[in-house]
Symmetry: C4
Subunit: 261 residues, 4 copies
């Protein structure tokens, strides 16, 4: 249990994009996972007033600091929990830059992050062992276009074009179920750098795929940056943050680089 997630730790340590998430054992936050945990742990949360107050902020409180929201990290993971594994999907925003003329142009399209973690007990998942795959807009289009009997396969090399190209190899494969009632999502990562290998799989039902399809349809124009065309005020949210300016390696950078090939 030591290395696994508890809701209290999850609540106090949002982490998806933080570097510490890579090496440590913090879970990926998840809405329904969290709700479920509240069911299990509701007593401790409701009785221990302090921890709850620490991360609770009412609408009026945040309302007074609304202008600061564009610098705030926001996590809206959506998770699918199954017997042997769980999958999270979460969008990563596109990045615009300004030219000297003052015009803004899209610099990197966004991506949909897909994370699969193995189960290590009933309704317990070890997000420390998760594998991550960043789906590009075109790959999402492939998922949208799948018929019930079709599958697809994508290969990513996060280090493509760099000196350590080929050291990490990721394969994401979607296979239709024999009875057309859904798909298997398979993610295999072979990492020669840290000598780790991972192979995770999760069944996705027709209903779950309908949610994924609806979410993809909604998010594609956002990942393309077209929401900024429609509403220029959203440009500020899509400018590079200070994190991305750091020159060290980070999970986010690497993941998005996967499909920058």
């Amino acid at each position: 249990m030591q290395g696994l997630s508890t809701p209290m730790r999850a609540a106090l340590l949002p982490l998806l994009h933080s570097r510490s998430a890579v090496g440590n054992a913090f879970p990926c936050l998840s809405n329904r996972g969290w709700v479920r945990d509240i069911g299990l742990y509701s007593k401790s949360i409701r009785m221990q007033a302090n921890p709850a107050q620490k991360f609770c902020t009412t609408a009026s409180a945040i309302g007074s600091e609304t202008s600061g929201n564009q610098d705030r990290k926001i996590f809206a993971n959506f998770a699918f929990y199954k017997g042997k594994s769980a999958m999270n999907i979460t969008p990563m925003k596109p990045i615009f830059k300004l030219a000297e003329t003052g015009s803004a142009f899209i610099y990197k399209e966004g991506a949909l992050f897909l994370e699969i973690a193995p189960a290590v007990g009933q309704r317990k998942y070890d997000w420390n062992k998760k594998q991550v795959f960043a789906l590009s807009v075109l790959e999402l289009g492939t998922l949208l276009g799948l018929s019930p009997e079709e599958g697809c396969e994508f290969y990513h090399d996060p280090n493509m074009g760099k000196s350590d190209a080929g050291m990490v190899r990721k394969v994401f494969k979607v296979e239709p179920m024999a009875d057309k009632s859904g798909y298997f999502f398979n993610l295999a990562v072979s990492n020669k750098l840290d000598k780790s290998d991972g192979r995770l799989s999760i069944p996705i039902s027709k209903a779950e795929f309908a949610v994924i399809r609806s979410a993809i349809n909604y998010i594609i124009p956002y990942l393309m940056g077209w929401h900024v065309i429609v509403d220029p005020l959203k440009l500020a949210d899509c400018m590079p943050s200070k994190d991305l300016k750091s020159d060290g390696p980070s999970l986010v950078k690497d993941a998005r680089m996967e499909w920058a090939k």
Copy 2:
């Protein structure tokens, strides 16, 4: 008639989320139901200037208090009226919380509330006897994925994981019509706590299902909280309100807990 809804009472006592709605006999507000009632009661409304003025506010008035809108309760029910029953659908927003780091993360996904009430006369429905079912994002995905000859069935226990688990049992069942011209929506609730049982059904035509499908497709990303990813300024609207911090039971809490299993 005493226990039933009249448009005037509906107008003056919005209630969906108020606790009094549970025990009292106030109807669920509904746009078209209301319009229709205006037809029937137009004389009283137009002649009795006072009641109308009480709940009328012009755009300019509300415009000056726009910044307060995030604390305002907003009801946009959409209703389907049939001979023996009526059905209301209304979205319930997702809830985000802040961590100490200042990051926001989704705490509870939203839901689509579905309410069915029996008819008690021509175009009169007893919302006091309504049954409520909170559809999760994944259940909405199931509805999206239905073909004309398919059905589905969901079971909810609002008290799951609590001491009174199993006391209330809800079953929502969608059955395709024999001629594929639509579906029957059936909602059965057996409540051992207040010894009440309810079984309501409503026919939904293909056209009505197209509206429901369009509404579901629109609302899924919102229920997932992804609209906050796309527009961080909307975070303030999705922070917990003071109501949800009250520790007493409420209709809303229970209903959303249904699928937090």
Copy 3:
């Protein structure tokens, strides 16, 4: 020509919702119609600087008065021009009202206005003879659900429930083309009040229907008022304006009352 529309008059006299549009001979503004007219009349527009300046306002000018936009009438008609007739579609916003508690609730759902006018020359349409039909959300759902070989038919009585019920009778009928390449939209209005009768028809190709379908899918949640749920700041735009508080009859009121039956 006297009674017909010219682009200059259209530009200077926006009118769709004004009462004078009923009895007078002003056209319905239309984007592409207007663009086309610019082609034909480009010389006069470009040379006569004054009229152009009268209705031109640059982005910076309107930017400084942005806060006033919620009181501004906005027209975004979309037109289909054919040999014998033209059709316009334009959304009409839903109306919310405030209860004494401060809560806002939807009071009237919005509608999609459909206007058909007869041709009176090459690319000239007499909008004075147009017929109007206000499609409700459920009727739009019917259009969404149509297969290529299906049709549908709606009946409206703008005076339903009033003393002059039955005096005006509107029938909107969608008929699939024999070769499934599109639909015929037929609108018949018999008005015993002003002893006028009208019967207009327009062919809608598969491509045009795809645009209509896309527009309907986009606008349904708006007509339901759900965009206010998603963004409470939009409430101000959906509050009753002063026009609607006038007690006299108006085209808009009547048209929306059509389906308030």
Copy 4:
């Protein structure tokens, strides 16, 4: 190489709408193209701090000047790179004008610009030789309605209705692949004014078409100006800018005039 694009020049000289783009050899900015180029040129970008800083602006910087975003030109091209050519799609906003009454009406619907450029080396495209085609809302509807075995064809004359009508003739043709795995997009332009002829073609896979379809569905209501109906605050972004008031010819004007026939 002299006349071709390099990412550094692209970054410093955003140009899509500038007149100089017509005669000079600047590329069309592209998100993924840019990302890819970062891979190839990463060393120079990361080492030469100055150029990078010139066009980098952090979120906090742009946040403080948010109100100026409506005058800022925003480019969010989305590109498809293939062996022999590349294709860019980018939306062009609709234009509203104000009447003397203060009402706003749509003056020109928007368009989806489609640009195809020939390859001149591995992953190098000569955007100087690109051909441009502005797809109208109805033409986009035609694309939406295509089945896997259908095609379509559009003819544009940018000078229609003017003295040099017929001098430039553009034909955009979509042909289904024999195996239904996608489409060929063909663009042929014959220009008697500058005696240039161009014929470019690009294969579009089923997945790519799914992205295009998703993007079209998202952008159609925007091109129709209906986003301003839903959110009147967006009116300011759709008012004519000073550029459009210039009386000289420009690429943008011409391109949009193509379908103003």
